[in-house]
């Protein structure tokens, strides 16, 4: 499969001769062919106009019809999986089994959203029948359901070149809800983006859909991103990435003439609490699990546990962690840029003297970076709970394989410590039965701080399922009411519309008399499929 290096504007290939950039092999630093061309602002305009034109047609399809289209994308990805994964491996340096797994997650996610829209209860269809005899005033026939929000812009993430990128969760959920999608490709994996984009473009054509249902935009800088987010046809934005970029994007969305929702998942440090009973019973096991979790994918996951609250002392645990981490090699970072940011973050933390460096793979002189961050080597810091509470910036994420041990004296300190945290994606408790019985206050605090709480597990590895919440209060995300993983993610790209006293034929099929689509509906307050 050849890669042209140009944006996809609906069914067309772009031709703009703007600024160029290349994919880079992070293992070698070598530039990969071909050159990629920044879309022109005219091409952005064309893509947005095509999306706007496609919206009513695509949005009027039934869930069953759109489900067929989502499955066709999944099948197309499966057919081209080898080439896509090979390119993703070159551009990301991620190991083959990880990318194979990620491809399975990406296609599985598309099929799961197909199931959701075929089943139809997500539409929240409601009917309140007319009450013509009601006194003092009759009631009209009132029906409502969720409808597509309108064209969506999706920003691919660097750390999941498949599952959070061109055909990832944001795209799948936005398409499932009935919205055209314009993806701004992440410059760290442009070739992967082009290959996946071509699969979607083909599926659009094969399904006979308006070409504006999908476009893919390349951008060497930020001009294309800004132009497309500001475009009046765009009605929502999905993003996964850094706090800086996420906040800037959210501001851009809010400052438009017509403000629009921005769903920015900006990562977090995912506090993990080891309670005393669990520490007594499973110190070595928890240490091994933590080591595996915070270094998985070189620590480049939004759910990496980066704050570990543990009882003071805990020498068995610390020794096990230290031995394990010191023996690890580095597995490389996703991009040279991420590698240098990780290096800076670790160096800064060492230099600040706010936390003690306790484990890593390389000895170093005072004030020097103790590990080879460019290679993705792990670093563990430690601090007392009092120090942690006094230094607010210790809560901030360093993207990469580093974590921080925070020693507490008594579990009674933990609810207050949790209450001082800002928003995170996850929190984890390691607790035996006795610990759990006394953890009610801590759990109540954590419920207000994160989107997902785990017992005796590790937060990396986010299951794509109906009940998943991958979200949380600011600054973990820009919208605590939502999740970017799991089937609830579809709700981000819909809005309710109400139809009063409509002739049956003018209603969407989902709301018609006799429930022709057989979906779950709330009729006069009762859920039923009749």
């Amino acid at each position: 499969m050849s890669i042209s290096g140009f944006s996809l504007i609906g069914g067309q290939a772009a031709t703009a001769a703007g600024a160029t950039f290349s994919g880079i092999n992070p293992a070698t630093g070598e530039k990969l062919e071909p050159l990629f061309h920044t879309a022109s602002l005219e091409e952005v305009e064309q893509a947005a106009a095509a999306a706007a034109a496609a919206a009513p047609v695509f949005g009027a399809l039934s869930g069953k019809e759109r489900g067929v289209f989502l499955r066709a994308i999944a099948d197309g990805l499966t057919a081209d999986a080898e080439a896509i994964i090979a390119r993703a491996q070159l551009e990301s340096g991620l190991p083959l089994p990880r990318l194979q797994g990620e491809m399975g997650r990406t296609t599985g996610q598309l099929k799961l959203f197909a199931e959701v829209i075929e089943e139809g209860s997500w539409l929240d269809a409601r009917i309140d029948a007319a009450l013509p005899e009601r006194k003092p005033l009759p009631r009209s026939d009132i029906r409502s359901m969720l409808r597509p929000i309108g064209p969506v812009v999706v920003f691919g993430a660097s750390n999941f070149p498949l599952a959070f990128s061109v055909a990832g969760g944001d795209t799948a959920s936005a398409l499932a809800a009935g919205n055209p999608v314009m993806v701004k490709a992440h410059p760290a994996h442009p070739g992967t983006s082009a290959l996946v984009g071509a699969v979607i473009q083909k599926a659009v054509a094969a399904a006979g859909l308006p070409e504006g249902v999908f476009s893919l935009l390349f951008d060497a800088g930020v001009a294309v991103a800004q132009a497309v987010v500001k475009h009046p046809a765009v009605k929502a934005v999905g993003f996964t990435g850094s706090a800086g970029a996420g906040k800037a994007l959210t501001r851009l969305c809010h400052e438009r003439e017509e403000p629009i929702p921005c769903y920015a998942e900006m990562g977090s440090t995912n506090p993990l609490f080891i309670l005393p009973g669990a520490m007594k019973e499973r110190a070595a096991g928890i240490a091994a699990g933590l080591q595996g979790s915070f270094t998985l994918g070189s620590g480049q996951f939004c759910t990496k546990p980066g704050l570990v609250f543990l009882p003071g002392g805990s020498s068995e645990f610390v020794d096990a962690l230290k031995t394990g981490v010191d023996a690890m090699g580095g597995h490389g970072m996703l991009t040279p840029g991420i590698a240098s940011k990780y290096t800076e973050g670790v160096a800064e933390r060492v230099k600040s003297g706010k936390a003690e460096f306790v484990a890593g793979t390389q000895a170093a002189g005072e004030g020097q970076t103790p590990v080879d961050c460019a290679k993705g080597q792990a670093a563990v810091f430690a601090v007392s709970l009092a120090q942690f509470m006094a230094e607010k910036d210790l809560e901030e994420e360093i993207f990469g394989p580093t974590t921080m041990l925070i020693y507490y004296d008594s579990v009674d300190e933990l609810p207050a410590a949790a209450a001082k945290l800002h928003g995170h994606l996850t929190a984890t408790l390691h607790a035996n039965a006795e610990d759990a019985a006394g953890a009610g206050k801590l759990i109540a605090e954590l419920e207000t701080k994160v989107g997902r709480i785990l017992f005796n597990g590790f937060p990396t590895g986010v299951e794509v399922c109906h009940a998943m919440v991958h979200g949380g209060p600011f600054p973990a995300t820009s919208d605590t009411r939502t999740t970017s993983v799991g089937t609830r993610a579809i709700l981000r790209f819909a809005r309710p519309v109400c139809y009063q006293d409509f002739p049956d034929a003018a209603l969407p099929a989902e709301l018609r008399a006799g429930n022709p689509l057989g979906i779950m509906r709330m009729v006069n307050g009762k859920l039923e499929r009749e």
Copy 2:
């Protein structure tokens, strides 16, 4: 019942001796007793701290328990209805039957939200069971449901002193979802606010709830409003009122250190389309209905139809409307401030020459205001579709009993005209069967522009029911994904939280094994009550 004139800070009466203001009888301009005292910033702090302390306790109650509390508020309002309505009549000038109806709506709304939380399906409880044998990786037990978002600030609206004020829809839905509420009383009806606030304060005490579940704040200016919205304990804001105030409030929410959702319902002009067949068959009936709707409550409804698209000519309709409107007296405006803004708006439109004045109750010289706006007299303007499209500001709301006729030549022009509209709360079609059969394109455009579309009715009179949507794209509201009327309004004040591999006893009852509360849940993708 006596009114102290001080804010209610949880269970306490405030004592601040800040700037004072009075309720005003709009019919006479006379100041009403007592003086009301602006809350101090210390009192704001106390109210917010009490709300934060109450949040976990109140949020942990089951829906059945909170339902009892909502019903107790409704019963308290009913018990004190006579005094509350008498004061509301003095402060708003609204007629007694209207206020009696509004009281019924307010108590009915509280009881409807009680039913919703007793039934429980709104929680969107989901369970994906563990799959320990799954290859290549086992699946954890993953459960999630909606949880309270946290303390909510509600701004009372001037035009519904009961149903959109202290115990109105925003308060009812925020309490139903399990959140403490701080109400900033509208200065146009402080006495009504005090009486209703006292009822809620009593219900909180009688239910043995933490006093911070409810506070009521008076403010002669905007300092209290700003302080409470900026308070870190506050997690969402509900507002109904003007576009200017709503936009400022939304900005304030977005610019906080932790941005929070702001639900501002800012009104609209509610386009109404009379299609040719309906005009031929029912000109006089539609004219009478329109007259009743745009002048109802002196046109002081967010759903007032202010843009009427009709076939060129339509002399029977225009004559009937003109005769009807010219014969109307004025019924007064809610406040002197609203009366003078209405006067300015009408005068400005006359002076601009952008639309022709065609009906009203008073002759006037060129360039003069043609009606006595201070008395709430009606004014009808007219314009061609081409002129309307050329003058963007003709789409803007003038709050009061005025509407604008917009003459089109052909129904084929309407989809494009609708596509150029900004967001509104409602759109209405008057159409016979033949009109309706050809209106698909127009309806598709309107679906993207409004929250509710009506057939052959009038948009004033918003039913409180499950299927209602009182919302719409910006600038009608600040968040097109939501409604401020109807039971879906509760979703504004909740966020999903996920529990992974939790011991059963540590889960909220709604997610426990065996479904002890008997609520509808999605279990492995299937909705069931088992």
